[in-house]
């Protein structure tokens, strides 16, 4: 792994069209700005894991008695549709 030291507002180029800038350092937190083409996916690494966990939870919860659950859910959601709000 390449390790570089940077000061606030100093930048790093990655390839031709990605640029990283250190925006601020407060205590042990570093704020980083990233400029990249829109088709480059930029995520905090833990976000993918969070979506994985949420999918697993959602699937586990859907195993419950389906007909009953979806009926109740539907009623509650219907009440929440903007057109039905009081």
């Amino acid at each position: 792994m390449l390790v570089l030291s940077r000061k606030i507002n100093e930048r790093i180029m990655i390839g031709d069209n990605i640029e990283i800038v250190v925006v601020a350092v407060v205590g042990d937190q570093v704020r980083i700005g990233i400029e990249a083409p829109k088709d480059i996916k930029i995520l905090r690494s833990e976000v993918y894991e969070e979506v994985q966990n949420q999918n697993v939870k959602a699937s586990a919860a859907s195993k419950l008695p389906e007909a009953e659950l979806s009926g109740q859910l539907k009623q509650m959601l219907k009440g929440n549709l903007p057109g039905n709000k009081e």
Partner: protein, 150 residues
């Protein structure tokens, strides 16, 4: 994909996060069309409730920037109907506590029957948005614009 009680099979070439090995899901859209159920074809134990979030959160207009891989999978042509669904996490003991994952919408191409679960870069959308919000927690009310994309 509008209509009554429609069932179709959607192919997710990369699976979805947490179930990367499952590629085929059958999608059953309820009559009223705002609620759907999605079952893995290879394992009916794996199932999800989905909603059309825009009906419930009119301000939910995610900025969708597809990666080259996602663009290839969805293969969206100008005339295509693209469907957006979000996965619900049901809280069976208290349905009012159920949440919806606005951070990672399912994007489906109705023509090709292919789909992806996108993870939005914009952190304003929560993966655990209360489905029946109280006054305090409407969407997109974070303290600062941390993670917002400009």
């Amino acid at each position: 994909m509008d209509g009554k009680g429609i069932e179709s099979v959607i192919f997710f070439p990369d699976g979805i996060p947490g179930f990367e090995e499952l590629k085929e899901f059958s999608l059953n859209i309820e009559e009223d069309t705002f609620l759907a159920r999605m079952d893995a074809v290879a394992n009916r134990e794996i199932a999800f409730f989905l909603i059309r979030s825009q009906l419930f959160f009119p301000e939910y207009l995610p900025q969708v920037d597809l990666s080259p891989r996602e663009t290839e999978i969805l293969d969206i042509a100008v005339a295509d109907n693209v469907d957006v669904w979000n996965i619900i996490t049901v809280h069976a003991n208290d349905l009012a506590q159920s949440t919806v994952n606005l951070r990672a919408p399912l994007i489906l191409n109705a023509r090709t029957h292919k789909g992806v679960q996108l993870i939005l870069s914009d952190e304003i959308h929560s993966s655990r948005q209360p489905l029946f919000p109280t006054q305090q927690d409407s969407i997109g009310t974070k303290n600062d614009q941390e993670g917002a994309v400009d």
